[in-house]
Amino acid sequence: MSLQATSSQTVGPFFKIGFDWLNRNDLTGPGVTGERVTLSGVVLDGDSKPVPDALLEIWQANSHGKYAHPDDTQEKPLEPGFKGYGRIPTDDQGRFRITTIKPGQVPGPDGKPQAPHIVVSVFARGLLRRLVTRIYFPDEPANAGDFALNQVEPARRGTLIAKKSGGQAGALEWNVILQGAEETVFFDC
């Protein structure tokens, strides 16, 4: 029996009606270990205009590099207070802000650990399907050997790596450019 996956359709402009109840922009909490980071940024369209009706969903491992999911069979500790899921709509200026911890390394298909990263879905009016991207971390030696980053032409890898922002510890900037010369790398995933 082979069925075909249902077609995607846009979330449209009014998705907050359905999604707001599960908004979560702070993944930290009591008992959650790891380096606190704040990711701030903006979603921009092909005219560099902010996108006020976009939604990010993120998924990440805990600081030990373990996903809260049954298919992660690694012998690493789970933390009950850390689920790894965030849902963040952009504001009227197209901006978003996520507070979380830097995830640990998880295995890659080439047998090497992947560099710490967060996987991201981008939804918006105008997007008939979600876009998939990743957030990596600055000053991270593992980035150089990362499986997914190495699928990307070197000139564009920077769009996936957050930048340090201001002087505050853990303050990072990462933007989503939907279209144009500085376009964020999106994965076929």
């Binding site: 075909q4 402009p13 205009k49 069979t73 790894g84 996987v119 105008g126």
Partner: protein, 234 residues
Amino acid sequence: MAPIAGYRRPFLRTQPDYLWPPYRSSIKRAPSKPLVYLPHTLSEVTGPTFEKEIVDVKACDLTKQHSAAPLGERIIVSGRVLDEDGRAVRNTLVEIWQANAAGRYLHKRDQHEAPLDPNFSGNGYTLTDSDGRYRFVTIKPGEYPWRNHVNAWRPAHIHFSIFGPAFATRLVTQMYFPGDPLLPFDPIFNATADELARKRLISNFDWESTKSEWALGYRFDIILSGREATPMEG
């Protein structure tokens, strides 16, 4: 860890392209560069799971979220969430949102000149059961105009969001109603090239779930990407 089996990629033409000029909002928001192919890793074959505790039992009945019943035709929308091998997707979160019977969303940016209904918020959610089944009670949403082109009208639809077992299976779609005369003219519905795939977005009228003296039933099954049989090698 043992090698990981990824999830299957979509069949040709069964998913919309990002750039689809008849849908005007896609023109400045679709990526212009090709997507970068990424084999699935542990990060994509895992994903958020939700427990029963987060689901309010009232959340699946959109007609009982206020002090009185909403206006409009009460309907039952139910179906199963399956993978491409026909296996039930259990305990997965299904979320819906929609316009009211007059075609108006409870949203500050919806300026359509149609009344809001104080007894209808238009959002619901539930978890599928052990057979992958879900069920919502709601009212039939109205059609409404939008500014995509001259005299543009959206067919009646309910937005659906489904997680499935992994980040790779995440799906957001829209369910339509059988016989809607607006379907042939809707750029969003028609963004999917494959005709059969498009038709699967249209729910079926369903005697089985129709409740005598009370509400018509519509059935909408949702199929998520299936899993590859063999693990990928590194």
